[in-house]
C-alpha cells in the first residue's frame, strides 16, 4: 500500500538548513493501523505530509496505492488527496463559516469529472457520515458551537467523505481530553477493522500506540520499525480490505 524509499527532506530558511529526514524507509500494508511516534521536531508531521500528498518538496521515492507521488502532476496529486487519503489534523481545521454538513461535504465541491456526485447524493452521504460519528443532530450547526471532540469527529467524517483507503492523522487527539480521545480511538479502531482503512496516526499518546497494529518511531532522520515487522500477523481473511462503504453502514440507510 505504502512504500517509502530513501526519503530526504530538508528545510531551508535564510539562516539554516535542517535535514529532517535523511534517507528514511517506510512500508505499510493495506489495513494496517500504524502509530507514528518520535520526539517533538523529529519529523513525524513532515513524513505524513509527504505521504498525504500535501508536500511535494522532497527527494526519494514515495509510492502509495501504486502511485509514484513525486511524478504526479499537481492536479493528479490533488485528486490523490481527495480520493486516496483523508487528512485529520490536530487542530481540526474546519472551515469556520460553513455548517458541519457543508464541512463534511467540502471534498465533494472539488471533485472533478466522473467523481462528481449529485447534490442529493452528497447530502445523503454527508448525513450518513455524521450519523456514524454521532453528530446527526449537528448538521446545520457552525463548528464554533462544537466541542473539541465533536470538531474532530466532523473532521474525520470529512476525511472519510470520498471513502479513501488511507487515513493520515497528525496528533488527532492532541487537543482532546482522555475520554474524548478514547472515543476518537474507538472510531479509528472501528474504521480499521470494519472497513480495512489503513491508518497512519502520529501520536504522543501511549493509548493510541496500544490500539495500533504496529508502531514506528521517527528518530534522527530515520524511521525505526519502518519495515514490515515479521511479528505482525498477516491480516486474517475477515480483515482484508473490502470495497468501502461509509464506515459500516450499508448505502441504503437511513
Amino acid at each position: 500500500m505504502i512504500r517509502v524509499r530513501g526519503l530526504h527532506k530538508t528545510y531551508r530558511d535564510e539562516t539554516r538548513t535542517i535535514e529532517v529526514l535523511s534517507g528514511a524507509d517506510f512500508e505499510a500494508k493495506a489495513g494496517e493501523f500504524i502509530a507514528i511516534r518520535g520526539r517533538s521536531g523529529s519529523g513525524k508531521t513532515t513524513l505524513i505530509n509527504i505521504i498525504g500528498g500535501l508536500d511535494r518538496d522532497y527527494v526519494g521515492e514515495v509510492r502509495v496505492a501504486d502511485k509514484l507521488l513525486h511524478a504526479l502532476p499537481e492536479a493528479d496529486l490533488a485528486h490523490y488527496r481527495s480520493a486516496t487519503v483523508g487528512f485529520v489534523f490536530q487542530s481540526f481545521h474546519l472551515v469556520r463559516h460553513l455548517t458541519v454538513l457543508d464541512n463534511v461535504s467540502l471534498p465533494a465541491v472539488f471533485a472533478r469529472g466522473e467523481s462528481r456526485l449529485r447534490a442529493d447524493e452528497i447530502q445523503a452521504r454527508a448525513r450518513r457520515l455524521l450519523a456514524e460519528v454521532d453528530l446527526a443532530d449537528y448538521a446545520e450547526v457552525l463548528p464554533s458551537q462544537l466541542s473539541g471532540g465533536q470538531k474532530q469527529r466532523v473532521a474525520i467524517a470529512r476525511a472519510l467523505f470520498n471513502r479513501p483507503p488511507i487515513l493520515v492523522c497528525d496528533e488527532p487527539t492532541g487537543n482532546l481530553d482522555a475520554t474524548t480521545a478514547e472515543e476518537i480511538l474507538e472510531l479509528f479502531a472501528r474504521l480499521n477493522t470494519k472497513l480495512g482503512t489503513t491508518l497512519l496516526v502520529v501520536t504522543h499518546d501511549p493509548h493510541v500506540a496500544r490500539r495500533a497494529t504496529r508502531e514506528v518511531t521517527v528518530l534522527d532522520g530515520q524511521i525505526h520499525g519502518g519495515h514490515l515487522h515479521p511479528r505482525v500477523p498477516p491480516p486474517s481473511p475477515g480483515e482484508t480490505p473490502r470495497p468501502h462503504s461509509d464506515i459500516a453502514a450499508p448505502e441504503a440507510t437511513p
Binding site: T45, N49, G52, L54, D55, E74, A75, A78, H79, R81, S82, A83, F87, F89, Q90, S91, H93, L94, V95, R96, H97, L98, D102, S105, L106, P107, A108, V109, F110, A111, R112, R116, L117, A119, I122, Q123, R158, A159, F161, N162, D170
Partner: protein
Amino acid sequence: MKRYDLRSLVLEDLRRSKRDFAMASIGIIVGIAAFVFFLSLGLGVRAVVLGEIFPLDKIEVVPKSLDFDLGPLRMGVGKDGLDDDAVAGLRDIPHVTHAFPKMKMTAPAIGKGGASLLGNDLYTEMIADSIEPALVEGEIAGKIPFLDRRDPSKPATPCSADAQCDEYDWCAPRNGQRECTPMIPVLASPHLVEIYNGTVRRAHDFPRLNPDFVVGLTFDLSVGSSMIKDSARANIREERCVLAGFSDKAIALGATMPISYVREFNAEYGTPDDARRYHSVVLQIDEKDNVASVARAVQERGYDVADPGTEQAAMLIAIFMAVFGLVSVVVVAIAAINIMHVLLMLVSERQREFGIMRAVGATARQIKLLVVAQSLLVGVIAAALGVLLAIAMASITDSVSARYIPDFPYKPESLFELDPLVFAGAIVFSCGFCVLGALLPASRAAKIDPVTVLTSH
C-alpha cells in the same frame, strides 16, 4: 451550500464578505452608470444630429469656388454654376441613386402672410430655391399637387374675386386686369417647423405649429420688390404661394418651388444664365459608407462638396463620448483596484481555508478560479446595477428635460439611445476589469502552501 460545487462556494464567500465587496463595487456601479449614461446620451444626440439635422446619406455638390477674403467681402471666383450636363455627369457616379438639382431664386421678393395664423401678416425678404417636382413625387402626402406651372397657352379666366377661381387658383392682377392664376405650390423643410416651434414661437408667443395643420396655408409673394431699396426692381409681379407639404429636400430656411417658376423669375429678373444654372445638386447615396467615395468622385469632376458641418458635429460628439467614456473607464479601473485590495485582504485572511480546500482535494487552478469567479460575480452584479442606475438617470433626465427645458429645435423625445449592446458592453467591460483585478489575488491564493498554513508550530 445548495449544489456543492465551486459556484455555490463562490456565492457563499460572496455572501460572507458582501459588505467588503459592496464598498468596493460602489465605484464600479458609478463608473458603469456613467459609462452607459454618457454613451447612451452621445448615441442619442448623434442619432438626432446625424439622422435629422445632417443626414449622412446625402451630399450637396456646389460649384468649385476660390474664396478671397477682402475685408468684410467674400469674393467667389471660378465656375459658378452647374448645368444639365453636369447634373447628368453627377448622376453617373457609382452609388449615387438620385441627383436633385436645385436652383435658387435670384430675383428679389417679399413674402407676406401669416395673418390667419398669427393675427397679423408678417413681411419677410423671401429666400427660395426650387427642385424638379419629380424628385418629391409620391413623397408629399397632402392633396395639393407640387407641380410645374400650368400650360401658359391656356386662356386665362378674368375674375374680380378669389372665390370665382378654382381651388388653388387665385384672382391675381395680371397685365392691368385680374385673372384666375394658379398658386405656386411650395415645400418647406421640416427643420423650419422645428426651428419655429423651438425658438421663434417662444420669442413671440405664437401658437405651436403642427406640420399637418399648416399645409394649405397661403402667403403672397411680390417678386421684384425688396426691403433693400437698391435691390428692388421696377416691375413687380404678384404671386400667391400655397404650402403643399414638407420635405427634407426643401431649403432649410425659405420656400422651395417647382423649378419652372424659379426659371421664369430668374429669366425675367436676371441674366439668361440665371435660368440655366443650378446652384447645387444634392446627391442621394445608396449607403452611408459610400459617401466618402462619392465625395471624392465629385471633387475629381471639379466640384466641391458643401460642408454642412456634419463632420464637425460628428467629431464633437465623438470627442464628448470619448472624454466621458475615458472618465468612466478610469473610475471603473480604480474600482477594480479597490476590488483587488479587498480580494488580497480576503485571500490573506483565508489562507488557512484555502489550505484546507487544497488538503481535501482542491487543485491550485480551482482555488484560482474561486477567487476570479468571486470578482467576476461582483463585476456582473455591480455592472448590472450600474446599467439600471444609468437607465434610471436617463429617464429622470428625459422627464426633467420634457418638463423644465423649453423646446429647442430638434428637441427629441428622449435624449438617449438605450442600446442593449451598450449594456452588454458595459457588463463585459466591468467583468474584464474585475477579472484583471482578481489575477494577482488569485495567483496568491493558488500559491498558498497547504503545509505551511495547516501545520501548526
